[in-house]
Symmetry: C2
Subunit: 249 residues, 2 copies
């Protein structure tokens, strides 16, 4: 069974579960693959605030605890429906706790899978824009590994990153986390400005590098940019892991 | 924490979780209420086939096992995102197993909550149409308790029940369980015929009495019929239970 750590935010978790469900074409309930979606956000500190040093508690501890609960419930594979939680400072802490607890669960890394996918599907050296949280931006969560894989990253700069992207996700009155379907005009205008910036600066692809962005991307004109969707890629990887495991049983 | 038993079908489970998430207005992830969505449909026999005597294994045993897993994971309240699973033959079996296992979890009954809601919100003696599976229809799952509460049920008859409603949900090529968004033309035409039948026969309200129906109802003209949505009502009841429990801690 697959463990999906959701709740960060709840709609992003539901979205990952929906993608997994819809990727499997079956005609009876019984043929769907089994998963548990854990939505227990209360104890998980904000990932960006931790990465920016505004809170001291590493969200990785609580995420690991939730993965262990899923393992005890029968899960053998896990994925986390939050890009920012994949920052090494958090993700490595999760791995550490799982190791301490002698967990056997296979934790799939959405960033690794995204890089593999980009290598397989984009033109070598392609210019890429990234839509992520400021926590991810500062930590080079996506840009670092993509650069290492030979891609060129179009840097939007910290000011635009905060104003056009992070606020679109997090603004307490009109950000995606409070209003996704439809998104607020403010959110859509800002994200559109970010897309336009990337397009004008030669990007051929854009990474929807925060799970919330996927929830509203259909409401924006992506101007022909190739969309890299880490959550869809994660969904596919989780299913592949599940199916290959299923065959070895 | 709330346990949501999904998977029967998977999209209906996701829908219940989404309703719960959207009913809570908060502006940070951490303020959302905790739940686990269990999607493990492989071992749960089809509820209608059991009720019609086509399979011998009571789905209640496996549903109870999944509720117990959620309880061990920390859940204190449970709901099942499947109307048909509330048929007494299945639901009472679930209660039995939970009792045998000394479970302390509070299992909310979606049918009881639906009747309560109807008593509070509909005109006394109102004529009601029902969109449910043939398993629920034959067992009078919704019509029985609603009649007992003083409402008049517009009976569509077994033939139309099978052709217009059950097939719209279950048809292996074009039913809602294989295609919900958008639903197939065939599904929409048949459900529209059912709605028209209820309207013409004086119904003032219609119960969306199979979780799958809620997924497509916006694609149909309900002709002003008051919509009774057991899954929305269940979501509200689960949240109320959760909040009242929270206050007593």
């Amino acid at each position: 069974m697959i463990a999906l750590i959701g709740g960060i935010g709840p709609l992003a978790g539901l979205n990952l579960a929906r993608i997994i469900t819809e990727q499997v074409k079956v005609n009876r309930d019984q043929d769907h693959h089994p998963w548990i979606l854990m939505n227990q956000p209360g104890l998980i500190p904000d990932r960006t605030e931790f990465l920016l040093g505004k809170v001291d508690i590493n969200p990785g501890d609580e995420i690991a605890r939730q993965i262990l609960i899923c393992e005890r419930a029968g899960c053998t594979i896990a994925g986390i429906a939050c890009n920012t939680a994949h920052a090494p400072l958090i993700f490595e802490r999760i791995r550490e706790v799982l190791k301490e607890e002698k967990s056997m669960i296979k934790l799939v890394n959405a960033i690794d899978e995204m890089v593999k996918y980009s290598e397989e599907n984009l033109v070598q050296g392609e210019k890429i824009g990234i839509l992520n949280t400021t926590g991810s931006y500062m930590n080079k969560l996506h840009s670092g590994p993509l650069r290492k894989a030979g891609f060129e990253i179009v840097d939007i700069g910290l000011e635009k990153q905060k104003k056009l992207i992070h606020e679109a996700i997090y603004h307490p009155d009109w950000g995606i986390k409070v209003q996704a379907n439809p998104a607020s005009d403010e959110t859509l205008t800002r994200l559109q400005d970010a897309i336009n910036f990337y397009r004008q600066n030669g990007a051929g692809a854009v990474v929807l590098a925060c799970s919330e962005i996927s929830l509203v991307i259909n409401q924006i004109d992506c101007q022909g940019l190739n969309q890299i969707k880490p959550m869809n890629i994660l969904a596919r990887s989780l299913l592949e892991s599940y199916l290959s495991e299923d065959q070895t049983l």
